[in-house]
C-alpha cells in the first residue's frame, strides 16, 4: 500500500510538472515591439498566415485596401520551433523589410540560466539591426561571442538567421532573396 501511494505521488508530481511545462509563453500583445521594429508603419495585420507572421503596412489597409506591405515581423519560435537554447526556446521578434534587411530584433522571453548576461542585454539583439539575410551570422565573426554562454548565443543567432531566411524565401521579391 505504501509503495502504491509512493508511485501515485510520483506520477502525480510528474503530471503536474508536464502540465506546467506546457504553458504558452509567447507574448500575446507585442504591439509596442511591432511599432519599435517598424516605427513608420501605420498598421499591422494580426498574427496569421503560413508561416505565422505580422505584415506591416505604410497605410492602414482598412482605409486603403490595396496598401502595400513595408515588411514582415515574426516570432523565431513560430518559424523555427525546434530551435532550442541551453534550457529552452529563445523568443525573438524580428522585423524584416522588403529588401531582406533586418529592421530590428527583440528578445522577449527566454529561460536561459545565463540569459541575463548573454541574450537579454539589449546590445545582443541590437547587433542584428541592419544585417541582411545574406550575411554569415557566425558567432565570433559577425556576431559577438560570449564564451561562457555559447549555447544560448549560438541558438538565438541560428534562430534569427534561419527564421529570417525562411520568411524572405516565402514573402520577399525575388531580387531580395
Amino acid at each position: 500500500m505504501k509503495n502504491l501511494a509512493a508511485v501515485a505521488f510520483l506520477l502525480g508530481t510528474v503530471g503536474v510538472a508536464v502540465v506546467l511545462a506546457q504553458r504558452i509563453i509567447t507574448n500575446p500583445k507585442p504591439e509596442a515591439h511591432l511599432k519599435a521594429l517598424f516605427p513608420t508603419a501605420a498598421a499591422f495585420s494580426p498574427l496569421s498566415g503560413e508561416p505565422l507572421h505580422f505584415t506591416a503596412f505604410a497605410t492602414d489597409p482598412k482605409s486603403t485596401p490595396s496598401a502595400p506591405p513595408v515588411g514582415y515581423a515574426f516570432w523565431t519560435t513560430d518559424i523555427v520551433p525546434n530551435e532550442h537554447g541551453y534550457h529552452g526556446p529563445i523568443h525573438v521578434l524580428i522585423g524584416l523589410d522588403l529588401k531582406g534587411v533586418i529592421t530590428g530584433a527583440i528578445v522577449d522571453y527566454d529561460s536561459e540560466p545565463y540569459g541575463y548576461f548573454s541574450v537579454e542585454p539589449p546590445k545582443f539583439a541590437a547587433q542584428f539591426k541592419g544585417k541582411t539575410i545574406k550575411d554569415a551570422f557566425v558567432v565570433g565573426r559577425d556576431v559577438d561571442a560570449v564564451s561562457r554562454a555559447s549555447i544560448s548565443i549560438n541558438s538565438a543567432t541560428r534562430a534569427i538567421r534561419d527564421s529570417s531566411r525562411i520568411i524572405a524565401q516565402k514573402f520577399l521579391p525575388e531580387a531580395a532573396k
Partner: protein
C-alpha cells in the same frame, strides 16, 4: 521549410572541436588521477577544473540542469556535443563510482578544495559529528525547495543566481550576488567544503543517484573498530564501519590509507601475524597483500 544555406557537418563540428578535445582530455585525466589515487594528479585535475571548466568555459552542472528534467527540455544535440559529453560523464561516473564529479571535476568544489590546501589548518572549525550529520540534510531540503519554486514560478534565473555560486566563474553578477559569494567563501575558510557538504542542491541530486553506485569503496573487517579513516575524511562521509555513499565524493583519502601498510591496522595485523618476531615492519611484501581480500 527550407533554410537558404544548409549546414554541413563540418560547419557544425568545427566550432566545437577544440572544446570537445579539451573536455575529453580533462575527463580522461581526472579518471587517471582517480584510479592512480595520486594526490599530485588530483591537485592538477582540481587546478584544471577551476581554470578551464570554471573560468574559461563556466561548465558546471547547475540546478537548472535538474530543472530541465521537469521540463523534459534538453539543448540541441548536434550543437551541444560538449554538454552531452560532460553531462553524460557526470551521470555515468556517479552511477559507477559515486559523486566523483563533486570531488574532482566541479570547478567550485575544486576551488574550495584548493583553498583548503593553502589555508592554515589552525583556522578550521571542526563541526561536531552530530551537527554535521544533520546539516548534511540541508542540501536535500534546498533541492526540494528550489524544484518546487521552479515548478510554481518557472523562474529559473533566481535559483541559478542565489541558490548556487557557480555563476561566479562567468564574472557576471549583481552587487548582492557578489556579497553573498564573499560571505560564502569567507565561511568556507573556517568550515571546509561548506557549500558542497551542506548546501549544494546539485550535490544532493547526485547524492540521490549515488545510491545506485556500482563500484563502492572496499572496507576491511578491521574498519569496524578503527577510526583513522573516519577522522581523516574531510567530507564527513565515514560513520563507524560505514561509508555514507551520498556524502562520499571519492576524494581517495581513505583509500590511500587502506593502501598504506604502515598506517592501516589491517596491514599491520597481517604483517604481525606473518612475522611475529618483527615488532614494526617498514613495509609488507606483495604476498601478504595478495592474500588479503577486502569486502564491500
Amino acid at each position: 521549410m527550407q533554410v537558404a544555406a544548409a549546414e554541413t557537418w563540418r560547419d557544425i563540428l568545427a566550432p566545437q572541436a577544440l572544446d570537445l578535445f579539451l573536455l575529453a582530455l580533462f575527463l580522461a585525466f581526472a579518471l587517471v588521477s582517480f584510479f592512480r589515487k595520486s594526490v599530485r594528479l588530483k591537485y592538477v585535475a582540481l587546478a584544471f577544473a577551476v581554470g578551464y571548466l570554471g573560468f574559461v568555459k563556466s561548465s558546471l552542472v547547475s540546478i537548472s540542469d535538474v530543472f530541465r528534467l521537469t521540463d523534459l527540455s534538453l539543448p540541441p544535440f548536434k550543437y551541444s556535443l560538449a554538454w552531452y559529453l560532460f553531462t553524460g560523464f557526470v551521470v555515468v561516473s556517479t552511477v559507477l563510482w559515486g559523486r566523483l564529479y563533486c570531488g574532482r571535476i566541479c570547478a567550485y568544489g575544486a576551488l574550495t578544495q584548493l583553498m583548503d590546501a593553502v589555508i592554515p589548518a589552525k583556522l578550521r572549525v571542526d563541526i561536531p559529528p552530530s551537527i554535521e550529520r544533520r546539516a548534511a540534510w540541508i542540501k536535500y531540503g534546498l533541492l526540494g525547495g528550489v524544484i518546487l519554486y521552479y515548478l510554481v514560478t518557472h523562474d529559473l534565473a533566481s535559483p541559478v543566481q542565489y541558490a548556487e555560486p557557480f555563476w561566479m566563474f562567468t564574472r557576471f553578477g549583481t552587487t548582492s550576488m557578489w556579497i553573498g559569494l564573499a560571505v560564502l567563501l569567507t565561511a568556507t575558510i573556517f568550515v571546509r567544503n561548506l557549500y558542497c557538504r551542506f548546501l549544494c542542491p546539485v550535490g544532493a541530486a547526485l547524492g540521490i543517484i549515488s545510491n545506485l553506485t556500482v563500484f563502492r569503496i572496499k572496507r576491511w573487517s578491521e574498519c569496524n573498530s578503527c577510526k583513522i579513516c573516519e577522522k581523516t575524511c574531510e567530507w564527513g562521509a565515514i560513520r563507524g564501519p560505514k561509508i555514507v555513499k551520498t556524502e562520499c565524493v571519492r576524494c581517495d583519502d581513505c583509500e590511500r590509507l587502506y593502501m598504506d601498510q604502515q598506517k592501516c591496522p589491517h596491514w599491520l595485523i597481517q604483517i604481525k601475524r606473518a612475522r611475529p618476531s618483527v615488532a614494526r615492519p617498514a613495509t609488507a611484501g606483495p604476498s601478504i597483500a595478495a592474500s588479503s581480500a577486502p569486502h564491500s
